[in-house]
Symmetry: C2
DNA sequence: AGCAAAAGGTTGTAGCTACAACTTTCCTGC
DNA sequence: GCAGGAAAGTTGTAGCTACAACCTTTTGCT
């Protein structure tokens, strides 16, 4: 079976996307690290918790919303717990499960951190695109996510 | 100074892009790791070398084309050298500089690996998009790269 | 009921990346 | 022609992620 190589247009798009994949996380991480001693993933964990009812989510749900594996989340939450940013407690309905909750301190921290982070996202992504491109980007990433998602356990937001 | 938060359309695009940033590298890495014991970054290093004249590039040039810092590249190249995939030798014109060259074995390896990798890229990115979307993606990532790029040392491919 | 399999988490560890510190060579101005 | 700084790499190390192994509780079957 013979390989279908990429033509010029496809190659350009792919090379640039690969560069974004390589560079953008570093930009986000270093702003958050500098201003709040957080990684982008840690920020995302806090953000998902802050939007949940009672600022609480089960580990599995949190892992899904943050696009991470459970082991990764477990390690991260432990570190955040040591820093007083989240707390864990057993889930009453299911003795296997663990709930993670954003503490008052964590809530204060993300409120203080959000403006700087949003400004960074705006500066490097949103504000360099036209409204039309933003809509195109949502469609494009939506299509990619559908194919990347193993068995349909994406968050609702990704659904097209 | 007050924060301009993201509206719904902006938020959707950003959340999805963030998910792609988180998930796509893992997909690429695991295919390459499974089939060739390579990370995506290692593959990229080999690919850039394979396209260069004499399959040779100076470390700085290679770092730039692979969107990485020099320390990172240095570590990676050392490991590839230990595996007989690349070799390093001092640059004749500049005694500070080091050249990296793809070995015959490395050349064979990337030729054997490329079809599987391209198939993965097609499956998860290129083939899920229309030709129009591919062109849009190139423009969008081009704009992001310009803003992310610190002082204009991007490869030519990124220029719009 | 009782047992196997699945679901939910945690822990240990190897490996990769970021950051800082350091060495050597080259360039510039005086 | 020679200091001082920039450029090119390398190395050491701390920290994060992936992967595998493990434990406990729940579910499904019969």
């Amino acid at each position: 079976m013979s390989t279908r190589w990429l033509d010029d247009a496809e190659m350009t798009a792919w090379v640039r996307l690969a560069a974004v994949l390589e560079l953008l996380p570093g930009v986000l991480d270093s702003q958050l690290r500098r201003d709040a001693e957080l990684t982008h993933y840690e920020y995302y964990v806090m953000a998902m918790l802050s939007e949940a009812p009672k600022r609480t989510l089960r580990m599995t749900a949190l892992a899904q919303r943050t696009n991470a594996t459970l082991p990764r989340l477990s390690h991260v939450v432990k570190r955040l717990e040591d820093r007083g940013i989240v707390e864990r407690f057993p889930c009453p309905e299911d003795a296997r499960a663990t709930n993670a909750r954003l503490t008052a301190e964590g809530w204060k921290k993300i409120r203080a951190t959000a403006p700087g982070h949003v400004a960074t996202v705006r500066r490097h992504v949103i504000d360099v695109l036209t409204p039309e491109q933003i809509s195109q980007l949502a469609d494009i990433t939506g299509a990619i996510l559908e194919s990347v998602d193993p068995e349909g356990n994406l968050s609702e937001v990704y659904r097209r």
